[in-house]
Symmetry: C2
Subunit: 229 residues, 2 copies
Protein backbone atom coordinates (compact mmCIF):
# COMPACT_ATOMS: atom_id res chain seq x y z
CA UNK A 1 0.00 0.00 0.00
CA UNK A 2 1.47 3.32 -1.08
CA UNK A 3 1.69 6.39 1.09
CA UNK A 4 1.64 8.69 -1.93
CA UNK A 5 -1.64 10.26 -1.00
CA UNK A 6 -0.76 10.88 2.62
CA UNK A 7 -0.45 14.46 3.70
CA UNK A 8 2.87 14.48 5.48
CA UNK A 9 3.86 17.93 6.62
CA UNK A 10 7.38 19.32 6.08
CA UNK A 11 9.48 20.08 3.00
CA UNK A 12 10.08 17.59 0.22
CA UNK A 13 13.39 15.82 0.75
CA UNK A 14 14.84 13.50 -1.87
CA UNK A 15 16.32 10.03 -1.73
CA UNK A 16 17.18 8.12 1.39
CA UNK A 17 15.93 10.73 3.83
CA UNK A 18 12.53 10.79 2.12
CA UNK A 19 12.39 7.00 2.09
CA UNK A 20 13.18 6.87 5.79
CA UNK A 21 10.54 9.50 6.46
CA UNK A 22 7.94 7.41 4.67
CA UNK A 23 9.02 4.29 6.50
CA UNK A 24 8.60 6.02 9.84
CA UNK A 25 5.18 7.42 8.89
CA UNK A 26 4.15 3.96 7.73
CA UNK A 27 5.37 2.39 10.96
CA UNK A 28 3.43 4.91 13.07
CA UNK A 29 0.31 4.35 10.96
CA UNK A 30 0.51 0.55 11.14
CA UNK A 31 1.06 0.62 14.89
CA UNK A 32 -1.84 3.00 15.30
CA UNK A 33 -4.17 0.87 13.19
CA UNK A 34 -3.22 -2.22 15.18
CA UNK A 35 -3.95 -0.40 18.45
CA UNK A 36 -7.21 1.07 17.12
CA UNK A 37 -8.27 -2.42 16.07
CA UNK A 38 -7.37 -3.85 19.44
CA UNK A 39 -8.61 -1.14 21.80
CA UNK A 40 -10.63 1.28 19.69
CA UNK A 41 -9.68 4.75 18.48
CA UNK A 42 -10.74 6.83 21.47
CA UNK A 43 -8.90 5.00 24.29
CA UNK A 44 -5.65 4.74 22.29
CA UNK A 45 -3.07 7.38 23.27
CA UNK A 46 -0.26 8.91 21.20
CA UNK A 47 2.18 7.48 23.78
CA UNK A 48 0.92 3.96 23.13
CA UNK A 49 1.26 4.49 19.40
CA UNK A 50 4.81 5.85 19.54
CA UNK A 51 5.83 3.11 21.95
CA UNK A 52 4.45 0.42 19.63
CA UNK A 53 6.13 2.08 16.64
CA UNK A 54 9.37 2.41 18.60
CA UNK A 55 9.78 6.15 17.99
CA UNK A 56 10.05 9.09 20.40
CA UNK A 57 6.78 10.76 21.28
CA UNK A 58 7.96 14.05 19.73
CA UNK A 59 8.59 12.24 16.45
CA UNK A 60 4.87 11.53 16.12
CA UNK A 61 4.12 15.24 15.85
CA UNK A 62 6.68 15.64 13.04
CA UNK A 63 4.33 13.50 10.98
CA UNK A 64 0.85 14.06 12.33
CA UNK A 65 -0.36 17.22 14.09
CA UNK A 66 -2.74 15.10 16.19
CA UNK A 67 -4.24 11.65 16.61
CA UNK A 68 -7.23 12.93 14.65
CA UNK A 69 -4.97 13.73 11.68
CA UNK A 70 -3.60 10.24 11.86
CA UNK A 71 -7.15 8.94 11.55
CA UNK A 72 -7.61 11.16 8.50
CA UNK A 73 -4.62 9.37 6.99
CA UNK A 74 -6.23 6.04 7.77
CA UNK A 75 -9.21 7.27 5.74
CA UNK A 76 -6.79 8.13 2.90
CA UNK A 77 -5.45 4.58 2.98
CA UNK A 78 -8.99 3.21 2.85
CA UNK A 79 -9.68 5.37 -0.21
CA UNK A 80 -6.62 3.81 -1.88
CA UNK A 81 -8.21 0.38 -1.42
CA UNK A 82 -11.32 1.62 -3.19
CA UNK A 83 -9.21 3.14 -5.95
CA UNK A 84 -7.88 -0.33 -6.64
CA UNK A 85 -11.43 -1.72 -6.69
CA UNK A 86 -12.43 0.97 -9.17
CA UNK A 87 -9.48 0.16 -11.47
CA UNK A 88 -10.28 -3.55 -11.46
CA UNK A 89 -14.02 -3.08 -12.05
CA UNK A 90 -14.00 -3.03 -15.89
CA UNK A 91 -12.37 -6.48 -16.09
CA UNK A 92 -14.50 -8.27 -13.48
CA UNK A 93 -16.26 -11.35 -14.83
CA UNK A 94 -18.48 -12.21 -11.85
CA UNK A 95 -19.37 -9.00 -10.06
CA UNK A 96 -20.99 -10.70 -7.09
CA UNK A 97 -17.89 -12.75 -6.37
CA UNK A 98 -15.68 -9.77 -7.10
CA UNK A 99 -17.41 -7.50 -4.58
CA UNK A 100 -17.79 -10.28 -2.03
CA UNK A 101 -14.05 -10.92 -2.27
CA UNK A 102 -13.29 -7.25 -1.81
CA UNK A 103 -15.56 -6.95 1.22
CA UNK A 104 -14.08 -10.13 2.67
CA UNK A 105 -10.58 -8.64 2.50
CA UNK A 106 -11.65 -5.18 3.48
CA UNK A 107 -13.33 -6.42 6.65
CA UNK A 108 -11.00 -9.39 6.96
CA UNK A 109 -10.03 -9.00 10.59
CA UNK A 110 -12.97 -9.13 12.99
CA UNK A 111 -11.19 -6.40 14.95
CA UNK A 112 -11.44 -4.05 12.01
CA UNK A 113 -15.04 -3.53 13.10
CA UNK A 114 -13.57 -1.98 16.24
CA UNK A 115 -12.33 0.86 14.06
CA UNK A 116 -15.49 1.12 12.00
CA UNK A 117 -17.56 1.20 15.17
CA UNK A 118 -15.44 3.98 16.63
CA UNK A 119 -15.29 5.92 13.42
CA UNK A 120 -19.08 5.89 12.98
CA UNK A 121 -19.49 7.13 16.53
CA UNK A 122 -16.95 9.90 15.90
CA UNK A 123 -18.26 10.73 12.44
CA UNK A 124 -21.60 11.83 13.85
CA UNK A 125 -20.05 13.92 16.63
CA UNK A 126 -16.71 15.28 15.29
CA UNK A 127 -17.16 17.48 12.21
CA UNK A 128 -13.58 16.96 10.93
CA UNK A 129 -13.96 13.18 11.06
CA UNK A 130 -17.52 13.37 9.77
CA UNK A 131 -16.22 15.19 6.72
CA UNK A 132 -13.44 12.66 6.06
CA UNK A 133 -15.96 9.85 6.57
CA UNK A 134 -18.31 11.41 4.04
CA UNK A 135 -15.47 11.92 1.50
CA UNK A 136 -14.49 8.29 1.93
CA UNK A 137 -18.11 7.14 1.59
CA UNK A 138 -18.39 9.06 -1.69
CA UNK A 139 -15.14 7.60 -3.00
CA UNK A 140 -16.19 4.09 -2.01
CA UNK A 141 -19.63 4.62 -3.56
CA UNK A 142 -18.08 5.74 -6.85
CA UNK A 143 -15.82 2.67 -6.91
CA UNK A 144 -18.59 0.20 -6.05
CA UNK A 145 -20.78 1.93 -8.63
CA UNK A 146 -18.22 1.00 -11.34
CA UNK A 147 -18.55 -2.63 -10.29
CA UNK A 148 -22.34 -2.45 -10.60
CA UNK A 149 -22.03 -0.75 -14.00
CA UNK A 150 -19.88 -3.66 -15.09
CA UNK A 151 -22.49 -6.04 -13.68
CA UNK A 152 -25.27 -4.28 -15.58
CA UNK A 153 -23.22 -4.56 -18.78
CA UNK A 154 -22.76 -8.30 -18.17
CA UNK A 155 -26.47 -8.80 -17.38
CA UNK A 156 -25.70 -9.79 -13.79
CA UNK A 157 -27.31 -6.75 -12.15
CA UNK A 158 -30.75 -5.17 -12.63
CA UNK A 159 -30.74 -2.04 -14.77
CA UNK A 160 -33.95 -0.39 -13.52
CA UNK A 161 -32.02 1.12 -10.59
CA UNK A 162 -28.94 3.21 -11.40
CA UNK A 163 -25.50 1.77 -10.58
CA UNK A 164 -24.82 4.69 -8.24
CA UNK A 165 -28.03 4.13 -6.32
CA UNK A 166 -27.31 0.41 -6.06
CA UNK A 167 -23.84 1.30 -4.75
CA UNK A 168 -25.24 3.68 -2.16
CA UNK A 169 -27.74 1.07 -1.00
CA UNK A 170 -25.00 -1.53 -0.85
CA UNK A 171 -23.00 0.83 1.32
CA UNK A 172 -25.99 1.33 3.63
CA UNK A 173 -26.29 -2.44 3.97
CA UNK A 174 -22.58 -2.89 4.75
CA UNK A 175 -22.51 -0.12 7.37
CA UNK A 176 -25.77 -1.23 8.95
CA UNK A 177 -24.37 -4.73 9.22
CA UNK A 178 -21.25 -3.35 10.91
CA UNK A 179 -23.33 -1.36 13.41
CA UNK A 180 -25.74 -4.08 14.44
CA UNK A 181 -22.87 -6.57 14.51
CA UNK A 182 -20.75 -4.40 16.82
CA UNK A 183 -23.60 -3.72 19.20
CA UNK A 184 -24.49 -7.42 19.26
CA UNK A 185 -20.95 -8.45 20.17
CA UNK A 186 -20.95 -11.33 17.68
CA UNK A 187 -17.85 -13.12 16.45
CA UNK A 188 -19.04 -14.33 13.06
CA UNK A 189 -18.97 -11.20 10.92
CA UNK A 190 -18.30 -13.13 7.71
CA UNK A 191 -21.52 -15.12 8.26
CA UNK A 192 -23.45 -11.90 8.85
CA UNK A 193 -21.98 -10.55 5.62
CA UNK A 194 -22.86 -13.77 3.77
CA UNK A 195 -26.52 -13.41 4.75
CA UNK A 196 -26.53 -9.72 3.94
CA UNK A 197 -24.91 -10.44 0.57
CA UNK A 198 -27.39 -13.18 -0.24
CA UNK A 199 -30.39 -10.91 0.35
CA UNK A 200 -28.79 -7.90 -1.31
CA UNK A 201 -27.79 -9.82 -4.42
CA UNK A 202 -31.12 -11.51 -4.75
CA UNK A 203 -32.58 -8.01 -4.73
CA UNK A 204 -29.99 -6.57 -7.13
CA UNK A 205 -30.22 -9.37 -9.70
CA UNK A 206 -32.10 -8.79 -12.96
CA UNK A 207 -35.76 -9.78 -12.61
CA UNK A 208 -36.05 -11.70 -15.88
CA UNK A 209 -33.56 -14.41 -15.00
CA UNK A 210 -35.04 -15.04 -11.56
CA UNK A 211 -33.46 -13.30 -8.64
CA UNK A 212 -31.62 -16.27 -7.18
CA UNK A 213 -29.89 -17.44 -10.34
CA UNK A 214 -28.03 -14.42 -11.58
CA UNK A 215 -24.55 -15.46 -10.47
CA UNK A 216 -22.30 -16.25 -13.37
CA UNK A 217 -20.55 -19.60 -13.45
CA UNK A 218 -22.77 -21.13 -10.79
CA UNK A 219 -25.62 -23.56 -11.22
CA UNK A 220 -29.10 -22.11 -10.85
CA UNK A 221 -30.41 -21.84 -7.30
CA UNK A 222 -26.92 -22.49 -5.97
CA UNK A 223 -27.28 -19.54 -3.62
CA UNK A 224 -30.60 -20.80 -2.29
CA UNK A 225 -29.12 -23.14 0.29
CA UNK A 226 -30.41 -22.65 3.83
CA UNK A 227 -28.80 -19.69 5.52
CA UNK A 228 -29.12 -20.04 9.26
CA UNK A 229 -26.94 -18.71 12.04
CA UNK B 1 -49.00 5.76 23.99
CA UNK B 2 -48.99 4.28 27.48
CA UNK B 3 -46.38 5.03 30.07
CA UNK B 4 -46.97 1.71 31.82
CA UNK B 5 -43.52 0.41 31.08
CA UNK B 6 -41.70 3.54 32.15
CA UNK B 7 -39.57 3.30 35.24
CA UNK B 8 -40.74 6.24 37.27
CA UNK B 9 -39.11 6.41 40.69
CA UNK B 10 -41.11 7.09 43.83
CA UNK B 11 -43.92 5.27 45.66
CA UNK B 12 -47.13 4.16 43.99
CA UNK B 13 -49.84 6.75 44.50
CA UNK B 14 -53.41 6.09 43.46
CA UNK B 15 -55.99 8.15 41.60
CA UNK B 16 -55.64 11.74 40.61
CA UNK B 17 -52.16 12.22 41.99
CA UNK B 18 -50.87 9.26 39.99
CA UNK B 19 -52.60 10.55 36.85
CA UNK B 20 -51.03 13.96 37.30
CA UNK B 21 -47.65 12.33 37.87
CA UNK B 22 -47.97 10.46 34.60
CA UNK B 23 -49.09 13.57 32.77
CA UNK B 24 -46.03 15.47 33.97
CA UNK B 25 -43.68 12.63 33.04
CA UNK B 26 -45.32 12.46 29.62
CA UNK B 27 -44.96 16.21 29.15
CA UNK B 28 -41.26 16.13 30.07
CA UNK B 29 -40.70 13.19 27.71
CA UNK B 30 -42.52 14.81 24.80
CA UNK B 31 -40.65 18.07 25.25
CA UNK B 32 -37.36 16.21 25.44
CA UNK B 33 -38.07 14.20 22.29
CA UNK B 34 -38.98 17.37 20.40
CA UNK B 35 -35.73 19.02 21.53
CA UNK B 36 -33.65 15.91 20.75
CA UNK B 37 -35.23 15.84 17.28
CA UNK B 38 -34.52 19.51 16.73
CA UNK B 39 -31.05 19.87 18.22
CA UNK B 40 -29.80 16.37 18.93
CA UNK B 41 -29.51 14.55 22.24
CA UNK B 42 -26.08 15.72 23.36
CA UNK B 43 -26.50 19.52 23.07
CA UNK B 44 -29.93 19.48 24.74
CA UNK B 45 -29.80 20.49 28.42
CA UNK B 46 -32.16 19.55 31.26
CA UNK B 47 -32.92 23.28 31.62
CA UNK B 48 -34.13 23.48 28.03
CA UNK B 49 -36.30 20.40 28.57
CA UNK B 50 -37.92 21.65 31.78
CA UNK B 51 -38.47 25.09 30.24
CA UNK B 52 -40.19 23.56 27.21
CA UNK B 53 -42.27 21.30 29.47
CA UNK B 54 -43.09 24.26 31.73
CA UNK B 55 -41.97 22.57 34.95
CA UNK B 56 -39.36 23.57 37.53
CA UNK B 57 -35.89 22.17 36.96
CA UNK B 58 -36.03 20.27 40.25
CA UNK B 59 -39.23 18.55 39.10
CA UNK B 60 -37.29 16.85 36.31
CA UNK B 61 -35.21 14.93 38.83
CA UNK B 62 -38.35 13.69 40.62
CA UNK B 63 -39.03 11.73 37.44
CA UNK B 64 -35.67 11.01 35.86
CA UNK B 65 -32.36 10.75 37.72
CA UNK B 66 -30.55 12.12 34.65
CA UNK B 67 -30.93 13.03 30.99
CA UNK B 68 -29.52 9.60 30.20
CA UNK B 69 -32.38 7.95 32.12
CA UNK B 70 -34.82 10.00 30.14
CA UNK B 71 -33.27 8.58 26.97
CA UNK B 72 -33.73 5.10 28.42
CA UNK B 73 -37.43 5.90 28.73
CA UNK B 74 -37.48 7.02 25.11
CA UNK B 75 -36.15 3.54 24.28
CA UNK B 76 -39.00 2.07 26.35
CA UNK B 77 -41.51 4.07 24.30
CA UNK B 78 -39.90 2.82 21.09
CA UNK B 79 -40.23 -0.74 22.35
CA UNK B 80 -43.97 -0.10 22.88
CA UNK B 81 -44.28 0.79 19.19
CA UNK B 82 -42.70 -2.54 18.29
CA UNK B 83 -44.99 -4.35 20.70
CA UNK B 84 -47.91 -3.01 18.70
CA UNK B 85 -46.25 -4.18 15.46
CA UNK B 86 -45.82 -7.63 16.97
CA UNK B 87 -49.48 -7.82 18.01
CA UNK B 88 -50.70 -6.83 14.58
CA UNK B 89 -48.38 -9.21 12.71
CA UNK B 90 -50.64 -12.32 12.67
CA UNK B 91 -53.44 -10.46 10.86
CA UNK B 92 -51.34 -8.68 8.22
CA UNK B 93 -52.42 -9.45 4.66
CA UNK B 94 -49.61 -7.76 2.71
CA UNK B 95 -46.45 -7.92 4.79
CA UNK B 96 -44.43 -5.66 2.53
CA UNK B 97 -47.01 -2.86 2.74
CA UNK B 98 -47.49 -3.53 6.44
CA UNK B 99 -43.80 -3.14 7.29
CA UNK B 100 -43.33 -0.24 4.89
CA UNK B 101 -46.23 1.55 6.59
CA UNK B 102 -44.75 0.90 10.01
CA UNK B 103 -41.31 2.19 8.96
CA UNK B 104 -42.91 5.21 7.33
CA UNK B 105 -44.62 6.15 10.59
CA UNK B 106 -41.70 5.17 12.77
CA UNK B 107 -39.31 7.39 10.84
CA UNK B 108 -42.05 9.82 9.84
CA UNK B 109 -40.35 13.04 10.79
CA UNK B 110 -37.06 13.66 9.00
CA UNK B 111 -35.81 15.08 12.29
CA UNK B 112 -36.27 11.73 13.96
CA UNK B 113 -33.02 10.76 12.28
CA UNK B 114 -31.41 13.39 14.48
CA UNK B 115 -32.18 11.18 17.45
CA UNK B 116 -31.21 7.95 15.73
CA UNK B 117 -27.94 9.52 14.64
CA UNK B 118 -27.17 10.66 18.16
CA UNK B 119 -28.24 7.43 19.73
CA UNK B 120 -26.07 5.33 17.44
CA UNK B 121 -23.10 7.53 18.26
CA UNK B 122 -23.83 7.20 21.99
CA UNK B 123 -24.63 3.49 21.81
CA UNK B 124 -21.09 2.69 20.72
CA UNK B 125 -19.47 4.87 23.39
CA UNK B 126 -21.81 4.84 26.45
CA UNK B 127 -22.30 1.36 27.92
CA UNK B 128 -25.66 2.17 29.57
CA UNK B 129 -27.10 3.49 26.32
CA UNK B 130 -25.45 0.72 24.32
CA UNK B 131 -27.26 -1.80 26.50
CA UNK B 132 -30.66 -0.12 26.10
CA UNK B 133 -30.02 0.15 22.36
CA UNK B 134 -29.23 -3.55 22.15
CA UNK B 135 -32.36 -4.46 24.20
CA UNK B 136 -34.46 -2.33 21.86
CA UNK B 137 -32.81 -3.86 18.79
CA UNK B 138 -33.67 -7.34 20.08
CA UNK B 139 -37.28 -6.36 20.82
CA UNK B 140 -37.64 -4.75 17.38
CA UNK B 141 -36.06 -7.80 15.74
CA UNK B 142 -38.49 -10.14 17.47
CA UNK B 143 -41.46 -8.02 16.36
CA UNK B 144 -40.28 -7.71 12.75
CA UNK B 145 -39.55 -11.42 12.79
CA UNK B 146 -43.27 -12.08 13.49
CA UNK B 147 -44.15 -10.07 10.41
CA UNK B 148 -41.75 -12.14 8.30
CA UNK B 149 -43.17 -15.35 9.75
CA UNK B 150 -46.59 -14.17 8.67
CA UNK B 151 -45.16 -13.37 5.23
CA UNK B 152 -43.64 -16.84 4.97
CA UNK B 153 -47.01 -18.36 5.88
CA UNK B 154 -48.71 -16.29 3.16
CA UNK B 155 -46.03 -17.19 0.59
CA UNK B 156 -44.88 -13.58 0.33
CA UNK B 157 -41.44 -14.11 1.85
CA UNK B 158 -38.72 -16.67 1.07
CA UNK B 159 -38.53 -19.55 3.54
CA UNK B 160 -34.91 -20.64 2.97
CA UNK B 161 -33.74 -17.95 5.41
CA UNK B 162 -35.26 -17.92 8.90
CA UNK B 163 -37.70 -15.13 9.80
CA UNK B 164 -35.40 -14.01 12.60
CA UNK B 165 -32.40 -13.74 10.28
CA UNK B 166 -34.47 -11.84 7.74
CA UNK B 167 -35.56 -9.50 10.53
CA UNK B 168 -31.99 -8.94 11.67
CA UNK B 169 -30.87 -8.21 8.13
CA UNK B 170 -33.81 -5.86 7.65
CA UNK B 171 -32.72 -4.05 10.80
CA UNK B 172 -29.16 -3.75 9.49
CA UNK B 173 -30.52 -2.23 6.28
CA UNK B 174 -32.70 0.29 8.12
CA UNK B 175 -29.92 1.41 10.47
CA UNK B 176 -27.35 1.57 7.67
CA UNK B 177 -29.74 3.73 5.69
CA UNK B 178 -30.15 6.03 8.68
CA UNK B 179 -26.38 6.38 9.12
CA UNK B 180 -25.45 7.05 5.51
CA UNK B 181 -28.46 9.35 5.20
CA UNK B 182 -27.47 11.42 8.26
CA UNK B 183 -23.86 11.75 7.17
CA UNK B 184 -24.98 12.74 3.66
CA UNK B 185 -27.25 15.49 4.97
CA UNK B 186 -30.08 14.55 2.59
CA UNK B 187 -33.67 15.66 2.97
CA UNK B 188 -35.48 12.81 1.22
CA UNK B 189 -35.32 9.97 3.73
CA UNK B 190 -38.56 8.40 2.50
CA UNK B 191 -37.05 8.07 -0.98
CA UNK B 192 -33.93 6.47 0.46
CA UNK B 193 -36.18 4.07 2.35
CA UNK B 194 -38.19 3.34 -0.81
CA UNK B 195 -35.04 2.30 -2.65
CA UNK B 196 -33.80 0.27 0.28
CA UNK B 197 -37.20 -1.41 0.59
CA UNK B 198 -37.31 -2.21 -3.11
CA UNK B 199 -33.93 -3.97 -3.04
CA UNK B 200 -34.56 -5.66 0.28
CA UNK B 201 -37.97 -7.01 -0.73
CA UNK B 202 -36.77 -8.19 -4.10
CA UNK B 203 -34.17 -10.13 -2.14
CA UNK B 204 -36.61 -11.39 0.50
CA UNK B 205 -39.29 -12.54 -1.95
CA UNK B 206 -39.72 -16.26 -2.65
CA UNK B 207 -37.56 -17.35 -5.61
CA UNK B 208 -40.20 -19.45 -7.35
CA UNK B 209 -42.55 -16.58 -8.08
CA UNK B 210 -39.82 -14.29 -9.40
CA UNK B 211 -38.37 -11.83 -7.00
CA UNK B 212 -40.09 -8.71 -8.30
CA UNK B 213 -43.62 -10.07 -8.35
CA UNK B 214 -44.20 -11.26 -4.84
CA UNK B 215 -46.20 -8.30 -3.59
CA UNK B 216 -49.78 -9.21 -2.98
CA UNK B 217 -52.50 -7.25 -4.73
CA UNK B 218 -50.16 -5.63 -7.21
CA UNK B 219 -49.67 -6.43 -10.87
CA UNK B 220 -46.48 -8.28 -11.74
CA UNK B 221 -43.39 -6.10 -12.19
CA UNK B 222 -45.23 -3.19 -10.60
CA UNK B 223 -42.26 -2.59 -8.34
CA UNK B 224 -39.85 -2.56 -11.28
CA UNK B 225 -40.39 1.04 -12.17
CA UNK B 226 -37.24 3.16 -12.46
CA UNK B 227 -35.93 4.18 -9.06
CA UNK B 228 -33.67 7.18 -9.44
CA UNK B 229 -32.92 9.99 -7.05
Amino acid sequence: MSLDSLHLPGPEVPGRRQRRREETAQRILSSAVRLFEKNGYTPTTVEQITEAADVAKGTFFNYFPSKEHLLLNVFALVRLEFERLEKEAPTATDVRAHLRGFARNFLASPSRTNIVRNVIGLAVTEPLIGEAFQTTLLKARAAVSRVFERGQKLGQVRTDISALLLARTFQQFILGTEIVYSVSGGNDLQQWLDTMFEIFWSGAAPAKTGARSASVGKPKRSTKKKVKH
